[in-house]
């Protein structure tokens, strides 16, 4: 066990937060602090570093209980604004997934499909308090005789609406280019032929899991900013994979850790939960997430000081390689370079565009900072740390 010069506990930091004495900075501000004062001094001074990310996160959805009808019904098929929800849960429960497309959508039959409405938009409409057409079908049982029902509802008519996202806040993600000769339409946006543009999708130095690369403080029960209110880390996310190549600073150089998140949709805001239509690909949901990282020791101070120049990802060809399952990195690129607006690949300068909103990520980190400073948001000590590599 490594010995530290600074040793703080969640409990001690929470005590400071309660008394309005905690020193909180954003992950952006922490870069300068550690550079000027060093990790040890920073660890003594700073208690919490806040992070943020706002991007389309496909593996998201909402568990809904819409309450019993009269006569009662075992709703086995459910639609919200004509978007199918999964009804095989219980009599009046369903799960609406972010990427489900509205029934009757032409999809990609006229390529590229526009995907103007789907699960992500239903979720945004719910959060915004908009009226939603709920349509139910059942097969009729002795206890649940009703077979069909349609009515207008808003989120306030629901007994429960729980956002439960199986995979969010990817620790790192590919940079995408297209080496083929035709324009392609992907979940990484439209990629023009012969490497005419490159897209990427993380908030880099502000991104939650980049600031705790070995997930030493994040686990089940970590309290987070989710969709404009407080939420929690429920589990490690699907596809969570800590065993990847890392830089000297411990930061994964490719897609690695993920988190499953949970929170009360009824308390969320449509500013932070936004439906997304991805041309030629489908529907998704922008989700706003921020994680407060407790500075328990000088190592955590060092981790949270990571900056874009020291965070790397891989560039992949989405024209041929990626769709065929060929994992071949074209080069390694830093987020500093990606955020500069151009990267160089095979001697060619390629303009870059993010899919993740750095502006909104900053807003989340600052909001979380305010909540903690005001004492309205306490750190949640994880019951179990996310699976990770040993350091």
């Amino acid at each position: 066990m490594k010995k530290f010069k600074v040793n703080k506990t969640f409990k001690e930091i929470n005590e400071k937060i309660r008394h309005g004495k905690a020193v909180v900075v954003t992950a952006e501000e922490m870069i300068d602090i550690v550079e000027k004062k060093g990790a040890l001094e920073a660890a003594r001074k700073i208690d919490v570093v806040t992070t943020g990310t706002f991007a389309p996160m496909c593996s998201s959805g909402v568990f809904i209980n819409f309450g019993h009808t009269s006569p009662r019904m075992r709703a086995s098929r459910v639609w919200l604004n004509d978007v199918p929800a999964y009804g095989g849960i219980a009599a009046v429960d369903c799960y609406i997934g972010a990427t489900e497309v509205v029934e009757g959508d032409p999809l990609n039959s006229v390529h590229p499909g526009e995907f103007n409405y789907g699960g992500g938009h239903v979720i945004e409409d719910l959060v915004a308090g908009n009226v939603i057409r709920l349509r139910l079908e059942g097969y009729g049982t002795d206890c649940y005789p009703a077979r069909k029902l349609e009515k207008n509802i808003t989120i306030h008519d629901l007994r429960n609406a729980i956002l439960l996202n199986p995979r969010n806040a990817y620790q790192n993600y590919n940079c995408a280019v297209n080496m083929s000769d035709k324009t392609i339409y992907t979940y990484m946006g439209v990629l023009r032929p012969r490497m005419a543009n490159a897209t990427y999708s993380t908030s880099g130095q502000l991104s939650p899991l980049f600031n705790d690369p070995y997930c030493k403080t994040i686990g089940i029960g970590t309290r987070i900013f989710l969709g404009g209110t407080k939420g929690y880390v429920a589990w490690h996310g699907t596809q969570h994979n800590p065993h990847v190549p890392r830089g000297k600073n411990g930061v994964p150089k490719e897609g690695a850790g993920t988190i499953a998140t949970i929170g009360n949709l009824i308390e969320m805001s449509p500013k932070w939960i936004v439906g997304a239509s991805i041309l030629g690909y489908g529907v998704s949901l922008y989700v706003g997430i921020g994680i407060p990282i407790p500075i328990l020791n000088e190592d955590m101070a060092q981790y949270t000081s990571v900056s874009d120049k020291d965070i790397y990802t891989q560039v992949f060809d989405y024209g041929v390689d990626y769709p065929n399952g060929v994992v071949k990195s074209l080069r390694e690129v830093s987020y500093k370079e990606l955020r500069s607006g151009t990267i160089t690949l095979n001697g060619k300068k390629i303009p870059t565009a993010p899919l993740s909103s750095y502006y909104r990520a900053m807003e989340i980190a600052n909001t979380l900072k305010e909540w903690i400073e005001k004492g309205t948001f306490l750190l949640g000590e994880p019951q179990e740390i996310l699976p990770s590599e040993k350091t």
Binding site: F54, A55, E114, S277, L279, P354
Partner: protein
């Protein structure tokens, strides 16, 4: 040199008049056709980038208005819905004129309507559907 992008709406009864030709001959304006659409009843619209002296440009616009076509700046018809925009930046990969760009200081996505040429690529490229164009 003065340069402005304008939308010209014309009706079926004047479609046979060489109005763009007059802009060149009488008002010494260079033009670049950015878009041209003719609708079923032969009414339509032209999006032109007009370049000339400010005086000639103003005179040319007066001529257009007098000849019965409706003229308006393209920039009036293309807007960034700031309530919808989440400032992700996905649009900047499409915008060939640099009208959409990320302000490096604030990291906000900004829209310079004067630079826009009305190509409409951003409308469906924006995942949040924040770009609105209404040319008609």
């Amino acid at each position: 040199m003065y340069s402005r992008k304008v939308i010209i709406h014309y009706t079926a009864d004047i479609v046979d008049q060489p109005i763009v030709h007059r802009l060149v001959k009488d008002y010494d304006l260079a033009f670049n056709i950015l878009k041209a659409r003719i609708l079923p009843k032969r009414e339509g619209l032209l999006v032109l980038d007009l370049v000339g002296t400010k005086e000639n440009f103003d005179r040319g616009i007066r001529y257009l208005k007098k000849s019965g076509v409706k003229v308006e700046p393209l920039s009036d018809r293309v807007t960034q819905n700031t309530d919808r925009c989440v400032h992700c930046g996905a649009c900047i990969a499409f915008c060939s004129t640099g009208a959409l760009y990320i302000d490096k200081k604030t990291m906000m996505v900004l829209f310079d309507a004067e630079k826009c040429n009305g190509c409409e690529l951003c409308v469906t490229a924006c995942p949040a559907r924040a770009m609105e164009i209404d040319l008609f």
